[in-house]
Amino acid sequence: MKDMGLRKRAVALLDCSLVRFVLFVAVPFLFLVFCGLHPKSYVTGLVSTVGIYIVLASSLNLINGFSGMFSMGHAAFMAIGAYISAFLTLSESVKANECPALPDWLIHTQAPFAVALVAAGAAAALVAVLVSFTIIHTKGHYLSVVTLALIVVIRALIDNNDSITRGSRGLNGIQPLSTIPAVYLVVVVTLFVLYRTIRSAYGRGLISMRDDPVAAQTLGVNLTAKKISSFAISAFFAGLGGALWAHYLTAISGANFYFEKSFDIVEISIIGGMFSLSGAVLGAIFCTVLPEFFAPLENGLHIAGFRLPTFFGLSNIIMAALLVLLIIFHRQGIMGYSEIIVESWFSKETYTALFKKSEYGKVRSALAALFRGT
């Protein structure tokens, strides 16, 4: 106990389930409730964006981090989800006027949001399965480039089928259904499913495939099935994320689901740590909140009566530089392999700790140790 550094003592505090409950469950939950009560607020807008990025980045982590296939094609699956969900929720008259080439049954269908979401995910997953033969036969960054090709093809299809997608004019007037409860319900479901997936025998198979495909194969892991299925699961949630995106912004077009969007998601995944779902959570928060601090700088900050010149583009430069530095000095991202946040969410101990006297004692002694400085 004597030479326990400050760092270690702080970490000891995080070992207490009760502390985890407060930090990872209670505080975020109360914050979300607050946001839910102020739906028009700017902070709520940021929080919704964070939620959608959590869904996108954590699903990307399933393939990039856990199954070892480095995809950069998430924007393509987002686009599919966004358009499918829009088609299912737009009113019949709008569709008949604007998207006359849609199949009749789709024009006449108006589905509830939940159904549209599931359909959006399913459509993205279906496309993933259809194109999966390309990722089975390629490896390394050849695979990455193949997924970039998918983005280009999807964009071309969207831009050139005017009578279905309105082409580059995009779809607008999509219902604003991505409220805080809706977004974060999807977040929780996504993380729960992904967490259970990576902690299952199936998930261990994925990780073994990532670490040593040859050994995994000799041990009976069906690589092809693993690749296709994990790609499809990931695409499913990317589709969900795309649908949430569409219903958050109410207007979509092919240009919004191009390289930049994919790179943004990859960046979040890398910064947070692509080997951890908790990393996706923190990465999404970090990459959305941090640029907000640079916004006043960009806008010409007032310091002691002087107004600094406007410096638009500064936040992009800082974020890009940060990414390079992080890759060089802390390659695993913020979270590395730790799963502390998501694990706390879905383990019973976090919640039962509230009712255990011993837990309070543990926190007290950890706190005491922290402040006593021993």
Binding site: Y42, V43, T49, I285
Partner: protein
């Protein structure tokens, strides 16, 4: 070791996150009251000497920046000039602008930030429908008037709602006017249409043009397509030449491809007059040399050769502030966007509220602006403006005629 390091990182990040959440929730609680007109009315009269807060959203980085950055400059210039002249009804303007980063989500969130954190009572900016819809939906829901500086998609106000206005004419007006000019003034009967498929602006413009051209009784001999950034037009040129040339060529492209299209088509041997919409109103291709002076017409918002005071003063002021001529028409539109807001706020008198500004914008009649005379009505939040047909001469766009759009 790995795990510990990660946890420390985690702790640090949580610190940032909690701090951010803290800041956020502070601003959140202070402005928790919905921005209803009633809430503002109570504060407005008490603070008549306080600055008027106006917001701006422009995509000054990313793909949109070549048109939004000049718009931002024009917008800022207008604010400067208004404040130098003593403000509006004795109150100065405090303008806050955020970069939309050519990202819909950032635009939407910036609109929320302007409304809630910076407490603006009106917003200006944005030149593309995708971003206009995203930010407009926010402003509409909060009851804050939003005047789009450069967007030309005519259905934006209908889609967004009664708080949205355009500064520019709609694409339909521009397309109809250029078609009329070609058909009636130039006497063209056959036309070649080249369309950039990657932008909503260019696809809209082309479809309105083709529709009106056929109404007039003209013939579209060949319709060809490309995608912005395709730097080689040899296939299109050969295909066009195979038609044996048409009376005129309508090129629906943005400013970015103008230079290469003009140069390559002319060098390739295409001699018919070329016409395009306001997307070509930039100084970029003007320096393309003699080739650019051969029968190139642009249907746009204003001509820099216009002798009127309002245009010349704008160009002079822009030069004084930035040391260059306005880069393109969007600079003037950004300026006019602020001028529309100024006029409406002036008309509000002592009752400067968002709802009142909206009503007063709608009531604007015959406002002399750099880009023409702006009038709105309850039926149309797209100003009825005339389209100025200009011709390239000595690297400048010179006024030819005011073309009617019907």
């Amino acid at each position: 070791m790995k795990k510990r390091k990660a946890t420390v990182f985690l702790a640090a990040v949580l610190g940032v996150a909690v701090a951010a959440a803290g800041c956020g929730s502070n601003t959140g609680t202070t402005t928790a009251a919905p921005t209803s007109a009633a809430a503002q009315e109570t504060t407005a009269p008490a603070a008549s000497s306080e600055p008027i807060r106006i917001g701006g959203i422009f995509n000054v980085t990313g793909d949109q920046s070549s048109i939004d950055a000049p718009a931002q400059k024009g917008f800022d210039l207008a604010v400067d000039l208004i404040n130098k002249a003593g403000g509006i009804n004795g109150r100065l303007i405090e303008a806050t602008s955020y970069d939309g980063q050519t990202d819909q989500a950032v635009c939407a969130n910036n609109a929320k930030k302007l409304i809630e954190q910076d407490k603006v009572i009106a917003i200006g900016g944005l030149s593309d429908s995708d971003y206009a819809y995203a930010a407009g939906a926010v402003a509409q829901a909060a009851g804050i008037p939003i005047v789009f500086s450069g967007a030309t998609t005519p259905d934006i106000p209908d889609t967004v709602g009664n708080y949205a206005f355009l500064t520019a004419f709609g694409d339909n007006t521009c397309a109809y006017a250029t078609a009329n000019f070609l058909f009636k003034t130039q006497g063209a009967k056959t036309v070649y249409v080249l369309i950039d498929d990657s932008m909503s602006y260019t696809t809209n413009l082309a479809s309105y043009f083709i529709e009106h051209w056929k109404e007039l009784g003209g013939e579209v001999v060949l319709e060809d397509h490309f995608k912005s950034g395709d730097y080689d037009f040899s296939a299109q040129i050969q295909r066009y030449l195979a038609t044996g040339e048409t009376d005129a060529m309508f090129i629906s492209s943005g400013p970015d491809d103008a230079s290469s299209i003009i140069q390559q088509f002319r060098e390739g041997g295409a001699t018919a007059p070329m016409i395009s919409g306001d997307g070509w109103d930039s100084d970029l291709w003007g320096v393309a040399g003699d080739l650019a002076n051969q029968d190139i017409y642009v249907g746009t918002h204003y001509a820099t050769s216009d002798e009127s005071d309002v245009v010349q003063n704008f160009i002079k002021a822009y030069n004084e502030k930035y040391g260059i001529d306005p880069e393109n028409a969007f600079a003037a539109l950004g300026y006019d966007c602020m001028m529309v807001l100024k006029k409406a706020i002036e008309d509000c008198g002592g009752d400067v509220t968002s709802a009142n500004i909206r009503d007063k914008i709608e009531a604007i009649q015959g406002l002399q602006c750099v880009t023409g005379t702006i009038s709105y009505s309850a039926e149309s939040h797209v100003p009825a403006k005339s389209v100025v047909i200009t011709k390239a001469e000595d690297n400048h766009l010179v006024f030819v005629e005011n073309a009617a759009s019907n």
